[in-house]
């Protein structure tokens, strides 16, 4: 299997709090890796480092064998790393089209001005929403008037629309009902196959992780507590790794 992402001995501290301590792992092509851990295990910190929000204090990251050094989230996006943030990162004052296209608006140059191509963006938005099979009253509706599930859909829409190499999904089903959650999990599998993506999925819900992940990385207090193949582990073992009930070198 080809390695797409290699994380090598990454550490990150915030003041005296060590969020990540010498974390190393690899992500292979076209696989879904569940990233699990209790609150404060360092999952979100790891995701934010990988999506370019801030750099690690120590350690290296390689994408397709090349060492990468993100200066901003834009750099990560240019390399085809797309993130669905836990807080959804939506502008409730804007419509679904604008939200889908934040930072990647389709524009035409005219006398130094970057004119928005609204029609093109609308068509693409409708296409993405249709692919997700999620009903939104209108893509021109302000996001603040959408339901929780619909908002989450807009946020996931960025993953559906833009991810190329690697997608980082931070709690993508947190605001969804049971039926919608099932749909989103299926969607993740479908998009993964369609685009031959690698996906890191963060979830509190082990059931979801076991449903779609190929491997599971367990973080505990900033350290890797274990990396398991789904087929050779069970939820009980993962929970014990998360809580530290089983030693790492079992």
């Amino acid at each position: 299997m080809e390695t797409i992402l290699k994380v090598e001995r990454i550490s990150k501290s915030f003041g005296s709090v060590v969020a990540l301590n010498n974390v190393s792992f690899e992500i292979f092509q076209n696989e879904i890796v569940g990233l699990v851990g209790d609150n404060g295990a360092g999952k979100s910190t790891l995701i934010k480092i990988l999506s370019g929000n801030f750099p690690p204090d120590k350690g290296n990251i390689y994408l397709n064998g090349l060492k990468i050094n993100f200066k901003s989230t834009m750099d990560a996006k240019k390399l085809g790393i797309e993130t669905v943030y836990q807080d959804l990162s939506l502008c409730s004052n804007l419509d679904s089209i604008s939200n889908l296209f934040i930072g990647r608006e389709i524009v035409k140059n005219f006398m130094g001005l970057k004119i928005l191509q609204k029609k093109k963006m609308e068509i693409k938005t409708i296409e993405v929403m249709r692919k997700m099979d999620i009903n939104i009253p209108s893509v021109k509706e302000k996001v603040e008037f959408l339901s929780g599930g619909q908002r989450q859909a807009v946020s996931i829409g960025r993953f559906v629309g833009w991810s190329q190499n690697l997608a980082l999904l931070d709690e993508p089903t947190a605001a969804l009902g049971v039926r919608e959650t099932g749909k989103v999990l299926e969607l993740i599998l479908k998009i993964k196959e369609e685009k031959k993506l690698s996906i890191i999925l963060i979830s509190h819900n082990l059931q979801h992780v076991f449903k779609i992940a190929d491997r599971i990385i367990v973080l505990r207090l900033g350290n890797i507590a274990g990396i398991k193949e789904r087929s050779s582990t069970n939820p009980d073992e993962i929970v014990s790794l998360m809580t530290g009930a089983v030693s790492i070198k079992k």
Binding site: S51, T83, S92, I102, K114, L116, K118, F145
Partner: protein, 329 residues
């Protein structure tokens, strides 16, 4: 589910009315004043209302852009005031209290614009580099620049400027001077920028959710620099036009305009929380204030009462903004 949908729709409807309440107020004002005040219902008066709205109008564009980006620029009034006295000082014919440089008025315009852009740069530098609230930064520059204006001529006014300075006032199209036409052109340009360009879209995104802007790689700092530099340039232009219209300037020019500008902008539906507003509404807000000012003038109401009315209008505008926030979130 049905009920929540309905209440969502009611909410949206009520929100829509509150967002466009400025038009109701504008129509109410014009109709009421026109029918009650003798001499108000008159084309010349209407032209005056628009002409007199020009300065507040241009400053309101600047403030609206800042507020939409989630910032506040209090310094615009002082920048306009300094631009007014600075341009008169540079181009004044008499050596008394002016520089004696006798500069071409249009060179002074360029210098004023450079000054306004510089102030905008300094404002945004302080806000971004030291992470200070824009209110506090621009409050300081507001006071400092007013002080600089008074120091420049030691408090004296400057009059009798070259005739070429007054061209924007003396050239008339259909009996309307160029100044209000410049304002209207600026409204069209900036409306287009806000609604149809990437810069405009990014200003709304930053005002709506600055974290999302960072997460999706928008150059937040660059946009905020641009917003404040545009704001400074517009304020400087307004000040230069003030001098052109008055054929002279004094160091306290434009004082008091800030609150009228804020009233117009907030009344026009721009949210103090950022991310929300349209220049069409702002334009209506500016006309509301101008029509009230005109009514007070025609009725020759004491200027002291005018202050009370101005203040009350700011209060009403802020109340409307708060009601939106309280009941329709």
């Amino acid at each position: 589910m049905e009920i929540t949908l309905n209440s969502q729709n009611t909410k949206k409807f009520a929100r829509g009315i509150l967002n466009n309440i400025v038009w109701i107020i504008l129509i109410f004002c014009i109709v009421m004043f026109s029918s009650l005040i003798p001499g108000y219902f008159n084309i010349i008066n209407y032209i005056n209302i628009i002409s007199n709205a020009a300065f507040i109008g241009i400053l309101a564009i600047a403030e609206a852009i800042c507020l939409i980006s989630g910032n506040l620029d209090l310094s615009i009034e002082s920048v306009a005031g300094f631009s007014a006295i600075f341009s008169a000082w540079l181009s004044g014919v008499t050596a008394y209290s002016s520089s004696g440089l006798n500069l071409n008025p249009y060179i002074t315009l360029v210098l004023c614009l450079v000054m306004g852009i510089t102030v905008g740069y300094i404002n945004s530098f302080l806000i971004l580099r030291f992470k200070i609230n824009s209110f506090l930064v621009t409050l300081s520059t507001y006071i400092i620049i007013r002080g600089v204006s008074i120091t420049l001529t030691k408090g004296a006014g400057i009059s009798m400027l070259p005739d070429s300075f007054r061209l924007v006032q003396t050239i008339k199209i259909l009996n309307i001077s160029l100044i209000p036409i410049i304002m209207i052109v600026l409204y069209i340009i900036f409306y287009f920028i806000l609604e149809n360009t990437r810069l405009g879209a990014h200003i709304f995104i930053i005002g709506g959710n600055i974290n999302a802007a960072y997460n999706f790689g928008i150059n937040v700092k660059g946009i905020i620099y641009k917003v404040f530099m545009l704001s400074g340039a517009l304020a400087a232009l307004a000040g230069w036009l003030l001098t052109a219209k008055a054929n002279g300037a004094n160091p306290t020019m434009a004082s008091g305009m800030l609150f009228e500008v804020l009233a117009a902008v907030i009344l026009g539906g721009v949210s103090l929380q950022g991310g929300f507003g349209s220049l069409i509404g702002v334009f209506a807000g500016v006309l509301v204030l101008s029509s009230i000012r005109s009514a007070l003038n025609i009725m020759s109401i004491s200027p002291f009462i005018t202050e009370v009315i101005r203040g009350s209008l700011v209060l009403v505008a802020i109340l409307i903004d708060s009601i939106k926030k309280l009941f329709f979130k």
